[in-house]
Symmetry: C2
Subunit: 497 residues, 2 copies
Amino acid sequence: MGDLYNKYIQRMQKIADVLYASAVLQWDQETYMPPKGASIRARQLATLAGIAHELATDKELGDILNELHASDKLNEKQKKNIAHSLRDYNIRKKYPNSFVQELTLTLSEAFVAWSEAKEKNDYNLYAPKLKKLIALKQKETQLLGYEKHPYDALLDQYEPGCTTHELDVLFNDVKTQLVPFIKSILTKPAPKDDFMYLHYDAQKQWDFGIELLKQMHYDFGAGRQDKSSHPFTIHFCPNDVRVTTRIDEHNLHEMIWSTIHEGGHALYEQGIPQEEYGLPSGEAISLGVHESQSRIWENNVGRSINYWKGNFALLQKYFPKQLKDVNVDMFYKAMNKIQASLIRTNADELTYHLHILIRYEIEKKIIESELNIDELPEYWNNLYLKYLDIKVPDDKQGILQDIHWSHGSFGYFPTYSIGSFYAAQFFDAAEKQISDLHTQIENGNMLPLLQWLRTHIHQHGKTLTAHEICKYISGQYLNFSYFMNYVKNKYSDIYNL
Amino acid sequence: MGDLYNKYIQRMQKIADVLYASAVLQWDQETYMPPKGASIRARQLATLAGIAHELATDKELGDILNELHASDKLNEKQKKNIAHSLRDYNIRKKYPNSFVQELTLTLSEAFVAWSEAKEKNDYNLYAPKLKKLIALKQKETQLLGYEKHPYDALLDQYEPGCTTHELDVLFNDVKTQLVPFIKSILTKPAPKDDFMYLHYDAQKQWDFGIELLKQMHYDFGAGRQDKSSHPFTIHFCPNDVRVTTRIDEHNLHEMIWSTIHEGGHALYEQGIPQEEYGLPSGEAISLGVHESQSRIWENNVGRSINYWKGNFALLQKYFPKQLKDVNVDMFYKAMNKIQASLIRTNADELTYHLHILIRYEIEKKIIESELNIDELPEYWNNLYLKYLDIKVPDDKQGILQDIHWSHGSFGYFPTYSIGSFYAAQFFDAAEKQISDLHTQIENGNMLPLLQWLRTHIHQHGKTLTAHEICKYISGQYLNFSYFMNYVKNKYSDIYNL
């Protein structure tokens, strides 16, 4: 059985090699590739994806997995790896070649149509392709199968085990608790934040960001930071995990919190055991748990008063002129200013979840065929009025703002909110379990928190599910009240509620 | 037959996709990869190499090639592509799996042993592995087969069609003509060149190098320059051809001529038709012809008086203090100073070929089993005394200086000299065919030369052989006298011979 398990490992690692080679090409595409290289790069990526798919659907791999699955000679970790891999294998096998080809073609068309529609601010250029894509995603739910709701089938790809029912409960809490809380905040005077938009030299911002990453114990021997138009984290193995950032010389928010956010993602990947390379035990649990790691660092740590009591003096050293009349309390309030806005990616820590709520409601109805796709912009705009009390001036800043649907990613958006909710629940446990956590953070000592995350989350790979990790850490399943308590404490203080 | 030819194209392009994906990983490895990423990167590269090899030795590909080869419905270019691909296919098929595995293992051991031996300056650490490797390379000549000399089989991998006999003639010319010419130069007083070794700021050097590349019409929309410890050119398609450079703040030679050299390689790759991607018609002819392109730009252009009459004022603008007492004539003489030296890569335009001559003589004897490998250092040192009149102080600066043999690259070194000799012969033709070539160069107008190279060499891919291109351009096969005339004219002037 040992030999067979080794065969399994070899096959999985070969697939990983091809997928991570693709990832290097993608990283290069977003950072350094010269513009004319794009068209051939696209075909090189498609070829690697095809090879990885062939390897991952190979009949012999299926035989190996089934034989190992039936064996009683595996240890616990091995059993879990085989169960994960067999599940993935069977899912891949549910897609007929004809479907994959049609989907690939439609995705490519939809992406082109979306790009053009966004540029020309004309949703009608996108609608026909979006309809076609949605029909295929609906078909995909049938191919995959589901117990209760077709949306479950899509959700499961990003957040295994998560259901529409679970999300309905969570987003109902958002509607009944967070929405009125935000409304009460918005009746109060907004903190002063004009100093965030002075001129901040790009190189100095970069250098400050590097200091923050080092303080988080991001390992620059096993990673690096570069610039890209949209910040991201990508890994080729736990010893090569890279982040990117974006710098706006007239908006200090941009670099600081995107750097901490991506740093959080990267610490997760750097904390996964390298010896599990290619296996489920060497992979992150889910998108939601991944997002919990970025959000803990970005928000629970990086937008806390203690973090800035420790770091504000350093920031002032970098920007003495811009911040000469600003103290740490003013800075803390400015970074936590709440305001309704049009664009999800620019939203604050609270209204962000209303953007997700809107997308979730729309996605569910789309998959249920309960929305006329031609009327999507109107529906979108009405929801922005309803939840954010904001009028959407055009589709570019409305229905066309996100790339996700043109990529076929339905069921992805909710993981952003789930991540923040997990973050609050995990951070609550960390506060209870780590002595003087806030003092440590104020002293710039991030090691206790990092080690706690390593021990409780990172090192496990996929050997625990998201539900299991959550229960293991906090004693219960995901519960919105942790997030609500966190924001109530924090913002009642900031806004004198 | 059109369908079958298209199948051939698809298979070749798929192989190219995998190989060029590997190239992206290699580029990254040499430029930006964090140090801890190395071990997994090595296995990712090995996996891609294995996949490419599987695709390139697939039986169905062989059937397609044989059927197309027998067809009379192909046009001339198609016939040449099929002939090339079939030849490559048949060569690959000559390697038994057991041989490939043993060679791969031995190469890996030899590289480790060489690295350690070089670091510790102890040839004996390397000798056993080198012996094993040489035995395998000798076996390889038997597997590949050859008409006259076993070395031909190895040479043919880098310089198709080139023979040991041809090299014997060339290097005999080197011995009888170039060696005495260099000796006569070295009796004359050396030009002053101390100003080349003042402090030259790295960023300013970088900026100047970029200006030189732009002047050569290196397309930055289809490429980029980065830094690496050894300068190189690499391509992923004609629209993504990258160069690297190395900057020494106390040696102006390093950046300038390595930049022009790599720029010359890159212009070749950027000039190959993108629509021939993956096919022999979309590949460079040989290493020797590739080197001719780098050497034409580096030496025939980049170390000429006219080039610097055009560019020296700009260089002075970058470094007014360092070059205030230097005029273009002094600069020209300094860059062309001839002196015997220990290290090949630092050698001047003339003594360089004595370094290659020495390696060629040794490689031939090694493959003929006429050398005792344990006595290689002594043999090496004697040749340096004989041809360069220089005493080798230790093996690190002697037999261990080059990486090539530890990579199994026997038959590679001669292509460096062949490249320079082709360069002289091609440049002679360009001078005759382009009106006022030297004036154009002096005026900074490199387009006439580039267009001539595009037309006569770049655009053809492998549809002409090196011998054919040479005859087509100059009316005759490779002839050392072009190089000798070039250097005689140039250096007689510089050294008042």
